[in-house]
Amino acid sequence: MMGWTQMLLPALIALVGGMFLLGGDRALKAFAAGAAEGLRSAVSLFPTLLLFVCAAALFRSSGAMEILCGFLTPLCETLHLDAALVPLLLIRPLSGSASTAMLSELFASYGPDSPIGLCASVLCGASETMLYVIAVYCGGRSLRYRRQIFVCAALTAVFLSVMSVLVGRWLLCVP
């Protein structure tokens, strides 16, 4: 299972290389436009990301993280859940920058290929920031199904949290 996923990126690279050759000028213009968008996005992400990374660093260095995980460990053990994942699980639907910061913290502490790192990766890859999506899509509109939207999104977020941990553990850590 591990072997073939290493082919995915090279395959994409080959495909893209081919398209550059075929597309010529149009391909390059499109690439530039997309890259500029990516840059704008990354730059505007920076301030809140900065805040969250600093907050996480403070939290960790003061020992508050350990205390928090200590509180959560008994509950997590009954659920077979790593306590370190809980802050990320809670934050993910609320803020993209915070979950990015927390994800890289987890990578730094446990490694991206550890069980915790893999579960966290699946969670962050598979879900979106619920708060942001709802705010942007529903803001300022009169929607008939407003309450249903929120409930469905919230339930889905919970479902995704549970499933990512399960999938992360069973699919990635067992073989």
């Binding site: 968008e37 730059v43 969250f52 508050a64 699946v122 705010a135 990512s164």
Partner: protein, 222 residues
């Protein structure tokens, strides 16, 4: 994990950021005082700040690269192909729009952008789809000439679009790949099948739930 900054997003995100930072900072000070680690806090702040820059830079490079590549793929025709593939799905999930022939192109574009991992493009496209469904062209809601049942069907489709976007199927989580690589992962793409599987299940779950809860009145022929 890719988001476009929009005016309303900055407000929501900033509020959350402010509150979270405030809470975490205060808790950290209290904790550090209790554990005698107050002197470590200043150092943590500065190393956190420089870590944030490193993180952003590695994210930035990869995000630019992948956004550019995927947009190029999109403009080279992948979008057209995707739209044809997506039509059956659109007819299933966005029945009102499909039957009335409203907003179908916008929905297809939004779904395609999500699938291709062009999160930055997906948001404006999704908003355009919402506008098309709910008639916000002139800042007004859809006029009643459309008929209540039909308007309800479009409202249900709008609800589906929103919920879909909170849990879209994720083929190319580019920011995640960038982060994993920056953290030194031996195989950043190892999580891709798992991510796709999970996001797909989440998407199906969301779609089913929305279909069940957002049923417009008399939807037989609209």
């Amino acid at each position: 994990m890719t988001e476009t900054p929009q005016p309303s997003r900055r407000t929501e995100e900033d509020i959350v950021a402010g509150i979270l930072f405030g809470v975490m900072a205060l808790l950290s000070v209290i904790c550090a005082a209790a554990e005698g680690k107050l002197s470590a806090l200043g150092g943590a702040l500065f190393s956190g700040a420089s870590d944030a820059v490193t993180l952003s830079l590695s994210l930035c490079g990869s995000m630019c690269l992948f956004c550019g590549l995927l947009r190029m793929l999109g403009e080279m025709g992948a979008l057209g192909v995707l739209k044809r593939i997506l039509m059956p799905l659109i007819r299933l999930l966005f029945g009102g729009a499909a039957r009335q022939g409203i907003a179908v192109d916008e929905i297809a574009a939004s779904l395609s952008a999500n699938l291709l991992g062009l999160g930055n493009a997906a948001t404006p496209l999704g908003i355009a789809a919402m506008d098309a469904l709910l008639g916000r062209d002139a800042g007004e809601d859809r006029p009643p000439k459309a008929g209540k049942a039909q308007a309800d069907a479009l409202q249900a489709d709008a609800a589906m679009l929103v919920v879909w976007n909170t849990a879209p199927p994720s083929l190319f989580p580019t920011a995640l790949l960038a982060l994993r690589h920056a953290a030194g992962s031996a195989d950043p793409a190892a999580v891709l099948p798992a991510v796709f599987l999970t996001s797909l299940c989440g998407c199906v779950f969301a779609a089913v739930l929305t279909k069940l809860t957002c049923a417009p009145h008399g939807r037989e022929n609209v």
